[in-house]
Symmetry: C2
């Protein structure tokens, strides 16, 4: 009887052990599953969201982006490894006051002037650009993934970072545009474009339905790259990096124009804008003292008018189902003070 009693005791103790061990584990598991099941907002992935407001492609605006999302426009996706903030917008939707292009794009709350500067960084992959458009129009098949935008005067853009991929090509191009701060009337304004990898903005098809060759050293949809825009004491320093691509660096003075006289106007501009009557020059002081802010996200350059892209009468679901949209994913981004370049 004694042995049996001890045996029973031991079994019961073991059962007790297993029970409480189980209860310990269960608690740990519960905590983990709560954490992984928790819904993630863009502000959980990139913590700088309190520094921005947003305009989405359906006209949704918000000035409080902490724990904010907008289904089908601004939300978090996981690609199996990493959380990404998705910025998605159709070819036709609701646009801002100054544009006929839709955007799901952040606008920086803090403003600055070139002399005080600022820095914006981003690591992204473009997942989609419009598959339809007029190949002779520079902005077809493209989206802008970062900007410096002026908030006064002509409200021009010292910087737009583009991604563009012609339909049928595997690789697309990354380039950046500098828009002149036009002297006098802004009717004559134009963008000077510089290729980072692949083509620049001025490389277009020979006809509306003919594409140029596949670009050299291009970047595919879904391929990651990073940019840094550092404005320090009036100089704009740009750095572009991507695995398997040469790092590219550029500098542009925002306080002193390179394009003051018609003799300064680059061949690229004479062959494009000037032929169409956009024949301005820039004020000598460029963007000196003019209030600026950063933008980041997806500013779709395709629309039904200028690029003649498909819009399905503005039906967003149809546009999303048929390639008439742009979509950009960011996994990292920062905004802050400009820094002295190395």
């Amino acid at each position: 009887m004694k042995t049996r009693a001890i045996t029973i005791s031991v079994i019961l103790i073991l059962l007790g052990f297993l029970f409480f061990l189980g209860s310990c584990k269960e608690k740990t598991k519960q905590v983990q599953s709560v954490a992984s099941a928790a819904h993630k907002y863009p502000s959980d992935v990139i913590p700088f969201m309190d520094e921005w407001k947003i305009l989405c492609g359906d006209g949704t605006r918000s000035e409080d982006l902490v724990n904010f999302e907008k289904k089908d426009f601004f939300y978090v996706e996981n690609d199996g490894q990493t959380d990404w903030v998705v910025y998605k917008t159709p070819n036709s939707g609701v646009t801002s006051r100054t544009s006929s292009n839709t955007r799901t794009e952040l606008g920086q709350k803090a403003h600055w002037i070139p002399e005080t500067g600022g820095k914006l960084t981003g690591t992204l992959k473009v997942m989609q650009v419009s598959t339809t458009g007029d190949a002779t129009v520079s902005s077809s098949f493209s989206t802008v993934v970062g900007q410096i935008h002026s908030d006064e005067g002509h409200e021009n853009e010292p910087l737009k970072v583009f991604y563009k991929k012609f339909p049928g090509h595997e690789k697309g191009s990354v380039f950046w545009n500098y828009e002149i701060n036009t002297a006098g009337s802004n009717e004559g304004r134009w963008d000077f474009s510089t290729a980072v990898w692949g083509y620049d903005f001025s490389d277009v098809g020979a006809s509306a339905t003919e594409n140029p060759e596949e670009p050299q050293d291009g970047v595919a949809l879904g391929e990651e790259f990073s940019y840094e825009v550092n404005v320090f004491e009036g100089m704009m320093y740009l750095t572009f990096t991507a695995e398997g691509h040469e790092t590219k660096k550029f500098a542009k003075n925002l306080l002193k124009s390179d394009f003051v006289t018609k003799a300064d106007v680059p061949e690229q501009i004479l062959a494009t804008y000037y032929e169409r009557g956009r024949d301005g020059v820039e004020r000598d002081t460029a963007y000196t003292g003019e209030i600026q802010y950063f933008k980041q996200g997806c500013y779709n350059q395709a629309n039904g008018k200028s690029t003649k892209s498909e819009t399905y009468g503005g039906d967003i679901a149809k546009q999303y189902a048929n390639g008439s949209f742009a979509e950009v994913w960011f996994k990292d981004a920062t905004v802050g003070a400009g820094t002295k370049p190395n």
Copy 2:
């Protein structure tokens, strides 16, 4: 025997239960004690530290304040309830280029102009101001806990938020000073001071050793208060709050001077600065277009020269042991874009 065996089993099960319950608890405890034992840096308490650089009262400078601390100057204290960031600095130490006062003070990396604006907030308690000094000198017994500082021209200060307490008084004063952006030579510059709670800067003792009366509605050492400095479209909006005190709000235009002619100069200034030959006026455009940045922390206004405060020959340990220092604790603070006031 059967009963006894069951009794033993039950006891053993209970022991098992307690043992494993204990082990569960222990794990929880361990995690907690690791967390509470972990060393805390100022950047753990106030997460905005990546937006600032620092100058400490011993001359230590750092431009990377994440996980940075400086013993005896910039570190974390817990008062039993809350973690606070401590800013401490002696009456005599190492000073900046433009000042004879020591500081342990943050300087904002991002710069801005009044037109683009910005916002700084802080919740703090002043723990110490110098106990020695000349009671007829306005800056005796005081420290500055927040500033807007110009980075060009005269490098004057559109805003200094002061705490000052005369020795022997229980309550001190909170006031803010606006320094004119002097027209012509900066020799004639002066600060116009406005009381928040208690006295303003111009209220001094009748002689070097006589204090005025204890101020009405004053703030004690160790008593918490908050400020918000919101610069929006060139206007500076100030809000001061503290439990048990009336909330005070002020607005000052930074783009247009109130002090352009001698007739505009306030009585407060005529009776103090003007008598000593500091008889300037301000340029009409005040701080328009001038580059600014915020400062926050402890900028000790006591020194061995102008306020004739005790410095123990610059021996910091002796100063700290004998009340010849200033010390300010912050528990919350933010910096960011200016916002449209309600």
